[in-house]
Amino acid sequence: MKNTLGKQITVYATLALLLLFALFPLYWMVITSFKSNGEIYSMTPTFWPKEFLGTAYDRLINEKGFMTNIKNSLLVSLIVSVFSIVVSMLAAYAISKLKFRGRSFISKSILYAYLMPRAVLFIPLYMLVTAIGINNSIYGLMLIYPTITIPYATWMLISYFKSIPDEIEEAAMIDGCSRISTMTKIIFPLSAPGIAATFIFSFTLCWSEYLYALVVVTKGADKTITLGLSDMIVGDVFAWGPLMGGSIVASIPVIIMYLFTSKYMVSGMTVGGVK
């Protein structure tokens, strides 16, 4: 009993510290978005706005472009991450559970593809989407973004699939299940938490991507959320209110996506899946 109490205290104390570190800057963003410029530019910061001003949010809602940006980002991020997850699941299954020639080389090559930084690849990739004729549109981004999600997703999924003991799969095969059905009926459901986590991070990788979006998309109707936010950073005196408010608003869809997927991140269904 004493042991559990001590443990409880440690757990909650650690949690509190983690929360403080994670949330303080966000708290700062939120209160900044409500402050007046005069209050933002003061010698000593105030921890609570003297007066809550909603002007920043009025501006965001009335500026049509911002909602379009969110819609574009949502579309690109969803399509790209669903596509990436599906193909990565198949590839990761093959790499982690099957034996074949060239396995090690192929799996390594997938990660090698990840090593070139965006700052180097954006020009050739832009040339590629231009050649296809989908530059200056979100379709161009849909073509490019899997380069940042697939290598990541494949590798994370490999590690989740590998943590499922082979004996479970073998038991099912002895029961007469085919390869494909063990994959879809056992490995995938058992790895649901990992798949869900990989999905949500693929989604956020696309959501916050900036450089490719900047280069590929110029026209207003196809701009993504990061471009919309950076449009607020003009000159050397920033509009802090809308900028901070905008990023708060921009994170809401991600949080909804997270809540949507988070129920698959809970264990318990693992046990049911085997039977």
Binding site: N37, S42, L78, V82, M127, P189, D236
Partner: protein, 439 residues
Amino acid sequence: MKKSTIRWITAVLALILTAGCGAGGTGGSGSGNADPGKETLTFWMKKQMFEEQNQMIQERAQQFGEEHNVNVNVEFIAYEDFYPKWSAAIESGTTPDVSFFGYQEVGQFYAKDVLEDVTDLVGKVEKANGEIQDSLKASVTFEDKLYGVPLWTESTALYYRKDMLQAAGFSEPPATWEEFREMAKALTDPSKGIYGAGLGYGKGNSDAEWLTRAIIWSHGGSLDTEDGKIVVVNTPETLQAVQLIRDIFIEDKVTPPSSIGWDDSGNNKSYLSGQSAMIFNVGSLAATIKNDNPELYENTGIAMLPAGPKGAVVPGISNNLGIFKASKNKDLAKSFIEYMTDKSWYGTWVENGAPLTGPIYKELAAEAVWQEEKNKGFVDSIAHFAFLGYPGVYNPKAGEIYNLRYVNDVFQKMLLDSGFTAQQAVEELQAKIEALYAK
């Protein structure tokens, strides 16, 4: 489990498909406005701080399109973002027809041979609207040809808090750099967190690059050449200026503690919050406080930069429109630029950005708006403009030296390491710049 997974995936897919259709639809109708039979002109414009100015450009471009029966695509791009966009566009052959260029970039791209000669066009524009300031034309002239049409200027001025100066017993802003140093000392009070000289040296800081040049040039020094060949950085004049800056930071300690890390917004933050009594900035700050903080605006004085032993020299910033050689509609592009520089419209546009955006036409500088107390300093500066490469003419190498931030690098080193003397700093600058000119 399995069923729910499938249901989940189908739900997402369905959502995407319908959303996809929606987007496809709007995208289609968006491009549907663009009549495929018409020619299209693409124009990349620097996004201005003032929304009114952006809107005016958009409307004007639309009007041009209607009058000439063409489509005009205007894209507003933040200055920082231009470099990756130009690079990708040039390499893939998708350059816009007309683009904004700072004069440094006009030089850089002239050297890469991707810009159209617009000498005739400038002549035409001047004939129709009156003379353009000579210093602006000079900054985009290479081998007697012009590669950009000036669109507006920006200049750096001194901002000071009238009340703080008064409290310290000064009725006038500093006229010389020595006076500036003395006043900064009197204005500084670290116990209250107040500093006289809001000078910053963050690595990317462009204000610092310009201001350092202003101080060096007004002392008769240089960061380049006189003839485009022999680098003349290591001179007693440059040293004197560098020593002055070093003393302000290290001997007098009249600069805020974090100023070595400031980016371009650092000095503005410092001024707005009352930490610095004097700073140097372009007109953006004046325009912002006029709207956001009328009280501070009232209390703000703006003057031309202090003078050195060789008089006042102000680093000029000229912003231009240029035409890419790869453009398929050069004639159209030229008439578009003529249209955008037409004085009757242009005068209103440039005034909307005052005092950040200054006019190119000599005649417009005499307008009432520029004679206002707080705007005068900016247009008066134009006559004292000097450009990168000074005392020689501007050349692409000088632009590279600016872009590489050699000045900020060396000054950061000097201001962080008290053993690093002004003489050493000047020698290092001489060596680095020589190496670049030698390439």
